[in-house]
């Protein structure tokens, strides 16, 4: 039975992955930042401000990726009731929310020199904002109940409903946006991006992923230890 799953194996696996992830993070972050700030040319139209992209775009990717991790963990929890899955969702959500906030903030900072305003009700930014709200709901429901298992399963249901809704929200916001703003705004999603910009972008994305893996694994270990503590306390209380 999963309930009796022994997470020692997970801990061993995590300990083996962590040094590698740290190495990848250090290498890709250092080289990525060097390329992003010094090794790549300024954009012809946007000038130096284009360099925000090297943080903004990977953060936005991670915002989506983390939600997929949360949703995958939730699915595993609902279907197979694996306790590690429950903890995985809890561990990943705040990281995802942070990346989402980072994407929004850097987006606003990038928007000022590019669009002349911090906030534009652009389809992408709006759907990322809604994604941020979904994260907030997921984390709020985790904190709302005394019984952790129950809270976690409620949060899992919400995450799965959210995952069904994400494409609809995305579509509706894009549809709404074209309705209200026929003039297209400047975007960087043209088919061609110069390789001098692509490399730092990919390196930064790799660094963000490695960062996620590290924080995620540490948070998992933390949650497992918290559980262990709870059971220890309970066994003290129930001793007769």
């Amino acid at each position: 039975m999963h309930r009796f799953a022994n997470p020692a194996q997970f801990n061993r696996l995590a300990d083996r992955i962590l040094p590698w992830a740290k190495f990848v993070l250090a290498a890709s972050l250092l080289y990525g930042l060097y390329l992003a700030f010094l090794g790549s040319p300024p954009d012809r139209q946007q000038g130096e401000s284009v360099r925000i992209m090297y943080v903004h775009v990977p953060a936005a990717w991670m915002a989506m990726f983390c939600y997929m991790v949360v949703a995958g963990a939730s699915f595993t929890e609902i279907v197979w009731r694996h306790p590690l899955a429950l903890l995985a969702g809890k561990a990943a959500a705040p990281i995802g929310a942070t990346f989402t906030a980072l994407a929004l903030i850097t987006g606003a900072l990038w928007g000022k020199p590019t669009w002349g305003t911090y906030w534009q009700w652009d389809g992408r930014m709006t759907s990322v904002l809604v994604l941020f709200f979904l994260y907030l709901g997921y984390m709020a429901i985790w904190r709302s109940m005394d019984e952790e298992d129950k809270a976690g399963r409620a949060a899992s249901i919400l995450a799965l409903v959210g995952v069904i809704n994400i494409p609809i929200i995305k579509f509706s916001v894009e549809w709404w946006n074209t309705l209200h703003q026929p003039a297209s705004v400047l975007r960087l999603d043209g088919p061609t991006i110069d390789s001098s910009m692509l490399w730092p972008l990919l390196l930064m994305a790799l660094a963000f992923k490695a960062y996620f893996v590290i924080v995620f694994l540490y948070r998992m270990k933390l949650e497992i230890n918290r559980r262990k503590l709870t059971v220890l306390r309970m066994s003290q209380v129930n001793r007769r």
């Binding site: 799965l160 409903v161 509706s172």
Partner: protein
């Protein structure tokens, strides 16, 4: 659906409508909120008819959405508190059927009065004459999605003390598409454009909510039973 489960379903709908409109029910509160909250907007943005006409569809829809939301808070809570949820769970209908019946009852007792009152508010908000039909139709078509999605939130927060705020946090992001399509339709009519496309999308949103809502609500209610 066999004859007996149909009887159970309609019986449950009738029971809930009756409870909603009896003392302590939420039936009249949502309607009062709807009327009062919409009249606040002219005070906030000024009485200029042109501005009011421009924002009327959005205001009426947003406030209808909020009125629906605040009444959803108690959808399952009363049954949870007095132990009736146990009986509901033991009904041959199953919890999904029970959830659907309660959602229907909520819609009829609480949301339908909002739809009926909406033309009056259109008048206060100087809504263009062309848009009235679409507004009422969009409310009829779109508010079931609000009840269905809200039911999931209500079921998830049923055991949470003061779950109302949490409910809003969970449900409001999921309401975004419904709101966009509905207001898009009313705006289109107000601007003499054919609203068929947004209305079709709105109907699709309601249908999807119909598929997911009762099932997810039942899953969430199971948690409350444990």
């Amino acid at each position: 659906m066999t004859a007996s489960s149909f009887g159970i379903f309609t019986g449950l709908v009738k029971r809930d409508i009756r409870l909603a409109w009896s003392q302590g029910g939420t039936g009249t509160m949502a309607l009062s909120f709807f009327l009062i909250a919409v009249t606040l907007f002219p005070f906030g943005v000024g009485p200029e008819p042109k501005i009011l006409a421009r924002i009327a569809p959005g205001v009426i829809w947003v406030v209808a959405l909020l009125a629906c939301l605040i009444s959803l808070d108690r959808l399952y809570q009363a049954d949870f508190e007095d132990g009736s949820l146990d009986d509901l769970a033991l009904s041959p209908l199953g919890l999904s059927g029970v959830a659907l019946a309660k959602i229907c009852a909520h819609w009829v007792s609480t949301v339908l009065p909002l739809v009926v009152a909406s033309p009056l508010l259109g008048l206060l908000m100087n809504l263009p004459a062309e848009a009235y039909g679409t507004m009422v139709f969009s409310l009829l078509l779109g508010t079931p999605a609000l009840s269905l999605i809200g039911s999931m939130g209500a079921a998830l927060t049923v055991s949470v003390r003061r779950g109302g705020v949490l409910l809003s946090l969970l449900v409001l992001p999921l309401y975004v598409p419904t709101l966009i399509f509905a207001v898009g339709a009313v705006d289109a009519s107000a601007n003499m454009v054919d609203p068929a496309q947004p209305l079709a999308l709105l109907g699709a949103a309601s249908l999807l909510a119909l598929v997911v809502g009762p099932f997810a609500s039942a899953q969430a209610l199971r948690l409350a039973l444990e």
